[in-house]
């Protein structure tokens, strides 16, 4: 089976996020006062071939730890869904 993996790789909490700051600033300037705490990261989507959802997730985590996220500056969240 193949699964679709949705990844969100976000800057570590406490790390300065200049991009998030700029976007928040811009939203406020556009009158979206209700918006706050903006963080900007990377979204990655990929197909993973695996025999089970669990296996797909495990593989996706390996990919994150090895390549997709920079452990020094980023945290990641992933969702797996059947294709």
């Amino acid at each position: 089976m193949t699964f679709r993996v949705h990844l969100r790789v976000m800057p570590r909490d406490g790390l300065l996020d200049p991009q998030g700051q700029a976007v928040e600033h811009a939203l406020t300037a556009l009158g979206f006062e209700e918006a706050g705490a903006v963080r900007v990261g990377r979204a990655i989507e990929l197909a993973v071939a695996a025999s089970s959802r669990g296996e797909a997730e495990a593989k996706a985590r390996q990919m994150c730890d090895k390549l997709l996220a920079n452990p020094v500056t980023e945290d990641y969240l992933l969702e797996v869904e059947e294709d």
């Binding site: 800057p11 570590r12 909490d13 406490g14 790390l15 300065l16 996020d17 200049p18 700051q21 700029a22 090895k66 390549l67 920079n70 020094v72 500056t73």
Partner: protein, 770 residues
């Protein structure tokens, strides 16, 4: 004054409730030894608070106190007719014609770059930019000096790619052209890369501003980014109890924000030129602590700040954290109270905030409150001056001595002809186009010679003159003979500048070494510095500032000693600038200088004979000086079409680079040369690949020849007619019985592809790890 200060200090400071008591362990965690802690006790006349201990540990760290290097640095020549500002300020300043002055400085960011190459390099550039524009100078050029382990290891490729991207993204965004630099790859840097960044700025001399707090009652303003828990390094764990679990949230990595830097740059220059402020300093290493304490000490005054007033990025930051945070893109400004609202208006225009956090006092005390509560009160002068100075033992390492006198050459892996191709393919020698095409080198529309020549050249706006800039160091030579290596680094930087036709004016330096408490490392340091000093005295190029980076060690041991020299030169008529490459067919080719044939420490022995050793050629400072003066004169008389100095790879590599030409010429030229009479008693490998200094490959239009020769004789510079530039095809070279022929198109491909072909997949590289 100080006396009353101590009395005051003695009584007023109290430990915060729940604050960790000062135990020998806590002292050790702050990297303070017994001697140092003893000094603190009798300086205060009491036990310091934890926050005070943090302050001492920051200011008495190697980075801030120079406690192992000061006595050696004092031996540098720092004065001269053009020196406006020598070492001790954020950047050195030299006088230029027509009321202009140049501010320049180089800084290391090695350790952050080893952890996170992209952010480490980026914030390194940010810091050096601030050092320059806080002097009132507009940054007009960046240079970067990079050192990594060999590119066959993925980790090294990852570090290289990340550092280059970091330098580029930051400088490109701020809008300062990167005009030059160097990249070198050697096993000694595996596990401990070097990232040194240099910035050059221009100012009207009258706009120069120094970072000295003055005027009792004047206000201290915090300008720019908010303060977060960024890089509160060695001291971090010590403050755990202060903010429980903050440790987990405290990133060791500082993230750069070049956009805020650009706003800070424009706002700072506007504040300085409008005369609204008394003093300004960047919050660099040890952030608010060092900037405020140093500004106070320079002005011979005291300061009082309340960390509770500092705008923070995170909730519940302690005074300790705020004082020691190394958040980027922040400035500390001193101003008269009446000016504050105008200052805030200027900052607001640049979308920045300026917040009053304290004032200048008359009691000489460095005093910090947190929401009113006094947490630090230390006599200011003594805080900066009482740190013990060390005179470590210095003795040359056995191994270095052995390598120098040894002579165990391996079998050459290629013949003398093939050696040229092998050297041009070595990433340290090959074209750095892969690097400098990631750097904006033409923004500000002042770039007269972009990266790719011996030195970068820029025009000073609205004048006829320009500046030439270069950074250089050959650490192989320094490792073998630190004294000669130190001289050689200055000589090469001066040669690079001189080859554009410029007159060397002065240097800044970044001294990257291992652990100074090791006698062999300190020997390298002391001797290299002695060499630098002697060369600068001989050339009349004072040392205007610099930076020392010790403890560059990896499991494998100390790095190769790397005293990087940043040189600035003046081109009186910038249109006279000389490029490095041959220009037109039928131009006459000359070799300047003499060749001893010594191969000690050469790239040829290292790469072709697998031997790093031998006695490097000693640097003849007099002939280097004659060489520099001759080139300046030849440029002024517009006699030269090209000039390229000999450095790594010697005469052969210099000839090849001159023939290959720049990255954007439609095709390479050729040359037909005969060196038979040049150095008759020198073996051909030494002649082609020896690395004697004071040499260059130059070309001129045929009619200029006689004037060139006359001028060379006049300056006592040996000049040898080697042949002619050809329209295309090959580099043909005869040396007595030896006849060599290299296809220039083939050389060109090797030279330009060497790095790109090794840098195909940087993303894969990080994952692949070691």
């Amino acid at each position: 004054m100080t006396g009353s200060g101590i009395a005051g200090a003695f009584t007023e400071t109290v430990a915060l409730p729940g604050e960790r008591p000062i135990t020998p362990e806590v002292v050790r965690e702050h990297n303070l030894n017994e001697l140092e802690y003893g000094r603190i006790l009798d300086l205060l006349g009491r036990i310091p608070t934890l926050t005070e201990l943090g302050v001492f540990s920051a200011l008495w760290s190697e980075h801030c106190s120079y406690k192992h290097s000061k006595p050696v640095l004092r031996t540098f020549p720092i004065s001269g007719p053009l020196v406006v500002q020598g070492p001790g300020e954020n950047a050195g300043v030299l006088r230029l014609p027509e009321g202009w002055a140049v501010a320049f400085k180089i800084e290391s960011h090695n350790h952050p770059s080893a952890v996170e190459p992209y952010q480490g390099a980026a914030t390194g550039v940010g810091g050096i930019l601030r050092d320059v524009f806080t002097m009132g100078a507009r940054p007009v050029a960046l240079l970067d000096s990079l050192r990594f382990g060999p590119l066959d290891r993925p980790r090294n490729r990852y570090l290289f790619a990340g550092a280059v991207r970091g330098v580029g993204d930051y400088g490109n965004c701020v809008g300062v052209p990167t005009l030059g630099g160097e990249v070198n790859f050697a096993p000694g840097y595996t596990g401990n890369p070097l990232v040194n960044a240099m910035c050059v700025g221009l100012l009207r001399e009258r706009d120069l501003i120094r970072a000295a707090a003055e005027g009792v009652g004047n206000v201290l303003l915090c300008v720019g980014a908010r303060t977060g828990r960024d890089g509160i390094h060695g001291a971090s764990f010590a403050s755990e109890e202060l903010s429980e679990a903050s440790e987990s949230r405290r990133p060791q990595v500082q993230v750069g924000d070049p956009f805020t830097e650009k706003l800070l740059l424009e706002a700072s220059l506007e504040l300085i030129t409008s005369g609204l402020i008394v003093a300004i300093q960047d919050m660099g290493a040890a952030g608010l602590t060092s900037s405020s304490a140093e500004m106070a000490a320079r002005g011979g005054v005291g300061v009082e700040i309340d960390t509770g007033l500092v705008p923070t990025r995170e909730e519940g930051m302690t005074s300790y954290e705020i004082l020691l945070s190394e958040s980027q893109e922040r400035m500390l400004v001193v101003a008269e109270p009446a000016r504050v609202s105008e200052i805030q208006a200027v900052c607001a225009k640049w979308e920045l905030t300026a917040t009053s956090i304290g004032h200048v006092t008359d009691d000489g005390i460095f005093r910090v409150r947190h929401h009113g509560q006094t947490v630090v009160a230390i006599p200011g002068q003594r805080l900066l001056e009482d740190c013990p100075i060390y005179h470590p033992e210095a003795e040359e390492g056995e191994e270095a001595r052995a390598r120098r006198s040894a002579l165990d050459l391996g079998e050459p892996v290629v013949d003398i002809e093939g050696a040229l191709e092998l050297l041009l393919d070595h990433p340290s020698i090959a074209s750095k186009r892969w690097v400098y095409e990631q750097y904006d080198s033409t923004v500000q529309a002042g770039t007269v010679l972009p990266p790719g020549s011996d030195a970068g050249v820029l025009r000073v706006p609205g004048t006829d003159f320009g500046l030439a800039v270069s950074v250089d160091c050959n650490s192989r030579l320094v490792a073998l003979d630190p004294y000669e290596g130190g001289k050689a680094a200055v000589a090469e930087a001066a040669r690079n500048v001189a080859c554009t036709g410029a007159i060397p004016l002065g240097i800044t330096n970044c001294l990257n070494f291992g652990n100074p408490e090791k006698p062999d490392v300190f020997y390298q340091f002391r001797e290299a510095a002695r060499g630098i000093g002697d060369a600068c005295r001989a050339f009349g190029t004072p040392v205007t500032g610099g930076n020392v980076s010790f403890y560059n060690e990896s499991p494998a041991g100390a790095i190769d000693p790397t005293p990087t020299i940043g040189m600035v030169g003046l081109l009186p008529r910038v249109e006279d600038r000389i490029a490095s490459y041959f220009d037109s067919p039928r131009d006459e080719v000359y070799i300047l200088g003499e060749t001893s044939g010594i191969l000690g420490g050469s790239a040829y022995w290292a790469e072709v004979c697998d031997f790093v050793g031998g006695y490097p050629p000693s640097v003849d400072l007099e002939s280097e000086l004659r060489f520099q003066r001759f080139l300046a004169a030849a440029a002024e008389q517009q006699l030269l079409r090209s000039a390229h100095d000999c450095s790594e790879g010697g005469l052969a590599v210099a000839l090849a680079e001159a023939v290959i030409g720049g990255p954007y010429v439609p095709g390479s030229l050729g040359a037909d040369l005969d060196l038979t009479g040049y150095a008759p008693d020198v073996p051909v490998d030494g002649l082609l690949y020896g690395e004697d200094g004071a040499r260059a490959v130059v070309s001129c239009a045929p009619p200029s020849s006689r004037f060139l020769i006359a001028l060379a004789n006049e300056h006592g510079v040996p000049v040898f007619h080697a042949g002619r530039v050809q329209s295309a095809g090959a580099l043909e070279l005869q040396v007595g019985p030896h006849v060599f022929s290299w296809s220039t198109e083939a050389l060109r491909r090797i030279y330009f592809d060497a790095i790109p072909r090794r840098m195909q997949h940087p993303d894969v590289d990080r994952a692949a790890g070691e």
